[in-house]
């Protein structure tokens, strides 16, 4: 038993991967940490596709592989171009893995428990309404008509950054900055998952599909094998979706699940949940002007720290690692005399020296590919026609190049094709 404090060293807002890793790291260093989450239980508001890269999490949690909720290791990667009832794929399979599949709700929960174990206080079902600001310094949080003071606030509120908006740090998100993700989780027995997808125990598949499955809207679909269920969903660029999509986005997931070539993978499964969430897409367009302010550090999706590789997202590990760096920055600021604005500036340096920033810069151009609709409809069509020409001969078989030429003819010029190819190779 203790008494209720009116001030904490650090208040972390949002118990997603970014907030929980910050709270864990700070509590471990001996700070008084409060972690505030609006969801009724941690993980109830978090949603993602399915795959997380291990290394950054292992750097934060040395015992990660032993106790974290890991469903399957990604040993199989498949990228498919889909048109009508044809699918052309490339697949990589091996026995090693550097990423795993999990439920974000479980991982977020595990991370929050780790923070609590280190002594952080977790408050669920509390929504922060705004930050308290005094003389330009962020000094605490406001919930309804109550306030709580802090030396430093760590903002880990995710992509929908209402607190940063209300503080005047960022403008409201525009549809062009974000994509919309929707997902279903389909329950299957564990051995059915393994049988349907050709996996051994603990092995998993990360499968990306591009083509007319998003109805011509730039984006893609994904399928991830969980332990005893499968996640199926798609991501579409929001501004394009608003213009193009004429039916409820949910119908696209349903089309995917009922697709003649895909439905056998889910056969007999029961839909356990359906969810939708925003993803930062044009991260450079939506980044706040700075990641640190007087008394405030911004982490995770709220800061735009999410990498789109084109075939996969790295958001969870980036968010978690940025939370970890924010905690490091706070400690360094304290050891240089206190969490003044000048001392907190070390966060900028830590971020810019880290893989987060290097990677975001390197893949900066991927977003521009999203504007090129040919990639999402025309090329999947051409690739599948090429495959048809090659694999479904009447009597005379064609050479590969012939099959391709026949598929291309009248659909796209060589010039445009080479230009697009060059773009893709350069950015991805």
């Amino acid at each position: 038993m203790g008494t209720v404090p009116t001030k904490f060293d650090i208040i972390v807002v949002g118990a997603g991967p970014a907030g929980s890793s910050a709270a864990y790291t700070l509590a471990k260093k001996g700070f008084d940490v409060l972690l505030v989450e609006r969801g009724r239980v941690v993980g109830s508001k978090n949603m993602f596709g399915g795959r997380v890269y291990l290394k950054p999490l292992k750097d934060i949690y040395p015992d990660f592989e032993k106790s974290a909720p890991i469903h399957r290791w990604v040993t199989k990667e498949r990228i498919s171009l889909i048109h009508n009832n044809d699918i052309t794929s490339i697949e990589f399979e091996g026995k090693e893995a550097t990423s795993f599949i999990t439920y974000l709700s479980q991982l977020a929960n595990w991370m929050a428990i780790k923070a609590e174990e280190e002594g952080a206080i977790l408050l669920t079902e509390v929504t922060v309404d705004r930050f308290e600001v005094e003389d330009g310094r962020f000094t605490g949080i406001r919930v309804g008509d109550e306030t709580l003071k802090s030396e430093v606030i760590i903002d880990a509120e995710g992509a929908n950054r209402l607190l940063l908006e209300r503080s005047g740090i960022v403008a409201p998100l525009k549809p062009k900055h974000v994509a919309l993700g929707v997902k279903e989780v389909i329950k299957l027995a564990k051995d059915e998952v393994e049988k349907h997808f050709g996996l051994d125990e603990n092995e998993g598949l990360a499968w990306i599909l591009m083509g007319d499955i998003t109805g011509g809207t730039p984006g893609g679909a994904f399928i991830y094998t969980n332990k005893d269920s499968v996640s199926v969903g798609l991501v579409v660029i929001l501004d394009e979706a608003i213009e193009n999509i004429d039916k409820h986005i949910y119908n696209y997931v349903e089309d995917l699940r009922l697709h003649p070539l895909l439905k056998r993978y889910f056969g007999g499964g029961r839909i356990m949940e359906y969810s939708a969430h925003l993803i930062p897409e044009d991260v450079w367009g939506m980044m706040p002007p700075q990641y640190y302010y007087d008394g405030l550090l911004i982490t995770g999706d709220a800061a735009g720290f999410l990498l789109n590789l084109g075939y996969t997202y790295r958001g969870v590990d980036f968010a978690a690692y940025s939370g970890y760096l924010a905690a490091e920055a706070v400690e360094q600021a304290y050891s240089s005399g206190g969490p003044s604005k000048e001392n907190l500036a070390v966060y900028k340096k830590l971020i810019e020296d880290s893989f987060i920033y290097r990677q975001l810069r390197k893949f900066r151009g991927v977003h521009s590919l999203m504007k090129n609709k040919r990639l999402f409809t025309l090329y999947p069509l051409i690739m599948n026609l090429t495959a048809r020409n090659l694999f479904l001969p009447e009597d005379e078989s064609l050479k590969v190049l012939e099959a391709f030429k026949k598929a291309r003819k009248g659909r796209v010029s060589w010039f445009t094709l080479l230009k697009d190819l060059f773009m893709v190779v350069r950015q991805v």
Partner: protein, 273 residues
């Protein structure tokens, strides 16, 4: 004199997302997050309103598995002073008789109380037995479906209003007594930052197993439950007629609708044929 109030809250599967297994007839609870029975949050609200107005102390009790600590934290977040979780394998499988017996014995153990408040009924079993049964075990008077409570301090009475179809009833309830609160009669308050912090830091929650309550094993849990579920039957699907009136004119549509309903014998027009 400040009021000492005990509120019963039940930890129930969130039935908005529960389905029933047609083969076994049991609830599929797997992966379904539980919540405090929503009607009980209104009982908590009623207790807190009394406390706000007259002062006092509110204790929430719940007989449930250990996860229900979250539910007790929730109501402490709303302003309840302390929670008691009654939790033991020995209590599992209880019907309403065994449940009410256990709850009544726990309330007796709390000892010093003026008022017990329950919800209207639960969303997962909805028997509305528990209030009356608990009151009977405790041998105290009870009133169901109250919408408004007022404490008459000098007489130590509770003025209870309840609304029936064609009348409003007002009772003076002798204390100690029990009331159940009509569903939807109020809106529960949000949890507050300070109260939620208190729930996490002071942890004002006690857990009582049968070691603390020391009840006769024949009166609790499955053994203390005389009710037998003989069979669960599914309601046969009733085929429904569907007719759509396509013309736009609302007057004609209304006439058309009334004619149909009269023809089907679903509507009688006085004096008319």
């Amino acid at each position: 004199m400040p009021l000492k109030i005990v509120v019963g809250i039940k930890w129930v599967p969130n039935t908005t997302s529960v389905s029933i297994d047609e083969k076994t007839g049991t609830l599929i609870r797997e992966g379904v997050p539980s919540v405090v029975n929503p009607h009980d949050l209104i009982a908590v609200e009623a207790a807190l309103k009394l406390k706000d107005r007259y002062g006092g102390h509110v204790t929430a009790i719940s007989m449930a598995p250990p996860q229900a600590i979250l539910g007790l934290e929730h109501v402490i977040g709303m302003g309840v002073d302390e929670g008691i979780l009654i939790s033991d394998r020995a209590f599992a499988g209880a019907d309403t008789l065994a449940t009410s017996y256990t709850l009544a014995k726990a309330i007796e153990k709390i000892g010093d109380y003026d008022l017990v408040i329950m919800g209207h009924e639960t969303i997962d079993s909805s028997t509305a037995h528990i209030g009356a049964q608990v009151a009977s075990w405790l041998d105290i008077p009870y009133i169901y479906y109250a919408v408004n409570l007022e404490y008459i301090e000098d007489k130590h009475l509770l003025r209870v209003r309840r609304i029936l179809e064609d009348s409003i009833e007002i009772y003076n309830l002798r204390l100690p007594g029990l009331v159940s609160i009509a569903m939807h009669s109020d809106v529960p308050r949000r949890v507050s930052l300070t109260n939620k912090l208190r729930a996490r830091i002071e942890k004002p929650i006690r857990v009582w197993s049968n070691k603390e309550l020391d009840l006769d094993p024949n009166c609790i849990g499955l053994r203390g439950s005389p009710t037998v579920v003989a069979k669960v039957e599914f309601m046969p699907k009733v085929p429904r007629k569907q007719e759509v009136y396509k013309d736009g004119d609302p007057k004609e549509a209304a006439k058309w609708l009334v004619e149909r309903l009269v023809k089907e014998g679903l509507l009688k027009i006085p004096g008319g044929e």
